[in-house]
Symmetry: C2
Subunit: 462 residues, 2 copies
């Protein structure tokens, strides 16, 4: 295997060709949610397969009930090398609203800006740019002697429309997709100069409750007082879910919620992040969560409970003196660490039932329960990847959390038993899903080098 510097030099010399290849892929309008673009999705999958075969992978288009998967394999030079499963997606969001694009969304171009060049096109950042970086890293290894790890690639075509074929595909191809670790590229850098590894994704329990009282809507004059009011019952349920310090009151809710290791806590505190500015962008200024936690903690490493919707009684113009027969609310929980979704659902149901008067009823509708994802801070892969990123960017990689979920990561864990190393080179302001989506040329250039360093680091002797 060539020394890493040779590989990095190859990536640099391949740059212009790499950009041409990315532009070719960006020109294919692989909008997965709109059936009008079905052939384009198939075309993007085939383009990837052709490209991967050209550089030495065995690769094939794999039909599903929706858009096809692309699966490719390449062996490492050493048979005892670690095996990585890299995931990305070739489908993109619709480009609407078209009139807000400065140029055609599927006619990629390089734009000069005061902070450097940007690649502008739908999919430049999400996810064609991010996934091709990894392919370019593999190309450089294969062109200079071989891969340091066994590599399996899985590229999906339905990420932007629900990934409905994915769970069954993972289950059906479990052994073919087996690996030591998953690499997921759908994430951001901390800022344009600081790489990041996402080690925590919050889980989600999403419940809906329907509180029913009288058999029909009642006149609030005739019945107001003695008749139970479902809106009041819901109000009490919602108000009782938090105490004055912002903690969730369900018994056992914090079981499995760990404190951050000191070094991580220290690193988070050192991150240039202003809670007030973060909230200021949406017109708020006062952190509303647990009073003894920073805004970053509240989003990344603390569980939450929030009603997402509520409706009951008369909601039109003016006044109607009604006591409704029912009212409903959707309430979700973000989970962290080792919180057990099923136990939280049970505790929530028990809490709600205890608030329902004897002559009223409650119906529960479940909209999902998935645990948090946490790559252990002690993971050897994490340590190696962090070191590799440090070498490339000359800055410590931030270990960050994410308030939301990346479903594929849960599925890799659940279906394939794989932890995921989440590294991406997108920036917060890449305008993904919006007009004039862009990807920084610097991300594209140094992202491929970063992946080469990570693959090299994963395969190095201890």
């Amino acid at each position: 295997m060539a020394p890493i510097d040779t590989v990095l030099a190859k990536i640099d010399s391949n740059q212009s060709g790499a950009l041409d290849r990315l532009f070719d892929l960006l020109r294919i309008p692989s909008v997965s949610t709109d059936p009008a673009f079905k052939q384009d999705c198939a075309r993007a999958a085939q383009w990837l397969v052709d490209e991967l075969i050209r550089i030495g992978f065995t690769a094939s288009v794999r039909p599903t009930e929706g858009h096809p998967m692309v699966v490719a394999h390449a062996k490492a030079q050493r048979s005892d090398a670690p095996h990585v499963l890299f995931y990305g997606h070739y489908d993109v969001q619709p480009p609407d609203p078209l009139d807000l694009w400065e140029t055609e969304p599927f006619a990629p171009r390089l734009v000069d800006t005061p902070t450097g060049k940007q690649i502008v096109a739908r999919g430049a950042s999400d996810d064609k740019g991010q996934l091709l970086l990894f392919v370019e890293a593999c190309r450089a290894f294969l062109e200079t002697g071989g891969l340091p790890c066994h590599v399996t690639l899985l590229f999906e075509g339905e990420e932007e429309c629900g990934s409905s074929s994915l769970p069954a595909f993972l289950a059906a191809n479990k052994s073919e997709l087996s690996a030591d670790i998953a690499l997921v590229c759908d994430t951001n850098m901390w800022d344009r100069d600081t790489p990041a590894i996402t080690t925590m994704l919050r889980g989600l329990v999403y419940e809906e409750i329907v509180v029913r009282a009288a058999t029909r809507d009642l006149h609030s004059g005739m019945f107001g007082g003695p008749a139970a009011n479902p809106i009041r019952i819901l109000g009490k349920i919602i108000a009782g879910l938090h105490d004055d310090s912002g903690r969730v009151t369900l018994p056992g809710f914090y079981d499995g919620v760990d404190e951050l290791p000191d070094d991580v806590a220290k690193q988070w505190r050192a991150l240039p992040f202003e809670g007030r500015a973060f909230l200021g962008e949406v017109g708020l200024s006062k952190p509303a969560g647990e009073t003894d936690r920073s805004v970053l903690e509240q989003i990344w490493s603390r569980p939450t409970c929030e009603p997402n919707g509520i409706v009951g009684g008369y909601t039109g113009e003016g006044a109607k003196t009604v006591l409704p027969a029912e009212a409903r609310s959707k309430i979700s929980f973000r989970l962290v660490g080792r919180q057990n979704p099923e136990k939280i659902v049970q505790a929530f149901h028990a809490y709600v039932r205890a608030q329902i008067p004897a002559d009223c009823r409650v119906e529960f509708i479940s909209h999902g329960a998935s645990p948090a994802i946490q790559l252990p801070f002690t993971s050897e892969a994490l340590t190696r990847a962090r070191r590799a990123l440090h070498q490339e960017w000359d800055r410590e990689a931030a270990l960050v959390g994410s308030g939301g979920s990346i479903p594929i990561v849960g599925q890799f864990k659940h279906e394939l038993g794989l932890d995921a190393l989440m590294v991406g080179f997108a920036l917060e302001n890449d305008r993904i899903h919006s007009p004039n989506e862009k990807y920084e040329l610097s991300s594209f250039q140094r992202g491929a080098r970063s992946w080469a360093r990570i693959l090299n680091a994963l395969a190095s002797p201890q």
Copy 2:
């Protein structure tokens, strides 16, 4: 003036003619809400005027922007007699759904039932039967020597569609409509054998609040925790409006709420009323109001606070992980006694403002504030009317409250400065506003006699 027995005998001998007259009026489909029946409303008003002139009133149809009023006057024999203003309405609800009527809604008929004969037609109970009783009582006086009281009649044609012309009409005709007391007939008996006088109507304060937090809807993964959630704020506001004993927590809320006089409280306790059965009819069993008050008190003589509507966030099918930018609720208060609506609005606003975080906002929309109506239990007219009803029915008249409002009663108080004596002979099961509306023939027969006795009693020397 003839002795009351002569007048009562005249009412009895007029019975068959009285029923014919009621049937004539019931045949006119005076549906006020539907423009197709505009001419029929005018016809009903003219029918009343013709009838009133025939028996000795001066009467006229009085145009309004909507359906006309009927105003009529007749003097008492003694010029120093008290003056009553009697109110009723000649318009009716639409008969829909027509297929649920056993016979034509505007083809009145007498139906034999195990408990006696019933008059079945739209408007039989609400309000043509109730208002004609009073006219028949006046007729009997006028046919036997003269009225004991000066009588002004006001019949409205828009009660079932909002009474929009009424306030201006009262204001514009204040002196013509002046009297010592108003008589309002739009109410029920306690049961088919027990007359009732309604002495309390609850007032109403109806507020809407809109709580606004972030400038846009937020992703609950990205912002859940630090970002304020308007649904949680509303939940806290609603939950905090009552304490554990069901009392409203607003400071000063119970100012002006009097305890019932002992004799009224005793009479209420003696009424054959089962709170459990009342709630049972709508599928409930456990009184939800103030824990130390009976169901009747909760409805009639105690103030309440109830949310009538709430909406915020995602309310469609399935799940959406949104933190809404705003949520709103309509919240109303039923008032009793001398509670001051303006003070309650102020207390409510102050309470709500105190729950709004510094970086959130609240908007208040007012949908009305009217005080409770209470005929003093010490009123001489009440005492006399109660005695008169006792004589006719051989049972003490129940002094009852009503949880709802009768807007005209507040307007009489506000525009004309009149207390109202509310006496009616409808029954709870008269199916007003529903198919097969009926009025008991016994109500029709003894109702006219009751009004004759009341007029007589109001005019008697102390």
